[in-house]
């Protein structure tokens, strides 16, 4: 378990580092990599028009973040239910 804590701290540091490195730069906005890809596509093929649009888009950033949070919550809920079930099984079965 000690190893796991070290691994989790390492993962957290890797994610915090970019925020620290870029915290004073105004042109860094941590946008999605695909937004940048769209810009490159426009540069290579300025005439390209997307031929299909999303059937439905979240009406606002707030609603989008709620849906992302729900995705993460549902996944984490199911995953941790399973892990808890396994922990109880290994504790009481033996």
């Amino acid at each position: 378990m000690k190893n796991n804590i070290i691994l989790l701290i390492a993962a957290a540091l890797i994610l915090i580092l970019p925020l620290y490195l870029h915290h004073s730069k105004e042109n860094i906005e941590f946008a999605g990599a695909d937004t940048q890809a769209e810009a490159v596509i426009q540069e290579i093929r300025p005439d390209y028009q997307p031929w299909f649009e999303s059937l439905w888009s979240p009406p606002s950033g707030e609603i989008e973040s709620m849906l992302f949070a729900m995705q993460a919550a549902a996944g984490a809920g199911l995953f941790c239910f399973g892990l808890g079930w396994m922990m109880a099984r290994s504790k009481y079965a033996s």
Binding site: G32, D34, F52, E53, A72
Partner: protein, 237 residues
């Protein structure tokens, strides 16, 4: 660019409508047989070992969580891990085709992230190429007698990275640079997707090792059924 749907489209897969339709169709046709093979593989594995159902649901859930977490990278942009390597290491690459495609479908329908027309291409990169890379690297690492922890780490890290290399390749094929051709275009897309992904791939590697460590402790019997055992001579990382 951002005004197409009225707001920035944040996401890391190929955006809706952004592959010319012959390309979109081609990737869908390539991906479909893998999806059927994945469904068959899940059916067979559950038939052979009904007790692994819970673990199977958990690896799907893990991919759901990780692909919802958009993380900052040293390049100053964001992307997200895929989480498909865990399942590929435990169950082989095929079941994750189904899990990864479900994640992509959810995000395409509800989040305007990725898209229906690009689902085939995105499934190929995240749900087929990624798990295959994880599985091949894990097998190679185990054959060369690496301990379980490092094997899992390498498999997850390279699977994550490979997913975005494939995405870059798909975009480069669809949009070759007028001057430099496919190579120049590939370099541009790799610069965006792959470089951003390097630190996130390391994070996915670390998190996948944490989960495998937990499963080894609490679910060693299920892992043994799947042929996953801690290295006899070395402790796991």
């Amino acid at each position: 660019m951002l005004t197409i749907v009225g707001m920035p489209v944040l996401g890391m897969h190929i955006m809706e409508g952004f592959l010319p339709y012959p390309m979109a169709l081609l990737w869908t046709i390539i991906s479909l047989p893998f999806l059927f093979a994945g469904l068959r593989s899940i059916q067979r594995q559950v038939q052979d070992n009904p007790s692994i159902k819970l673990l199977l649901a958990m690896v799907g859930a893990f991919a759901f969580v990780l692909s919802a977490l958009k993380m900052p990278s040293v390049t100053g942009s964001c992307s997200h891990p895929t989480g498909v390597a865990l399942g590929a290491v435990l169950f082989g690459p095929m079941p994750m085709v189904v899990m990864g495609s479900l994640v992509l479908l959810f995000q395409a329908l509800l989040l305007a992230h990725g898209g229906i027309t690009t689902l085939g291409a995105n499934a190929f990169s995240m749900a087929i190429a990624g798990p295959l890379a994880a599985w091949v690297i894990f097998q190679l690492a185990q054959k060369s007698r690496l301990p379980l922890g490092p094997s899992v780490f390498l498999a997850a890290m390279f699977s994550d990275l490979f997913t975005y290399v494939v995405t870059s390749f798909q975009l480069a094929v669809a949009f070759p640079d007028p001057a430099g051709g496919l190579a120049a275009s590939l370099a541009k897309f790799l610069g965006i997707f792959a470089i951003t992904q390097i630190p996130l791939a390391v994070v996915e590697g670390l998190l996948t090792v944490v989960v495998v460590n937990l499963l080894l402790k609490y679910s060693a019997c299920d892992l043994a059924l799947l042929g996953i055992r801690p290295h006899p001579t070395t402790q796991t990382a």
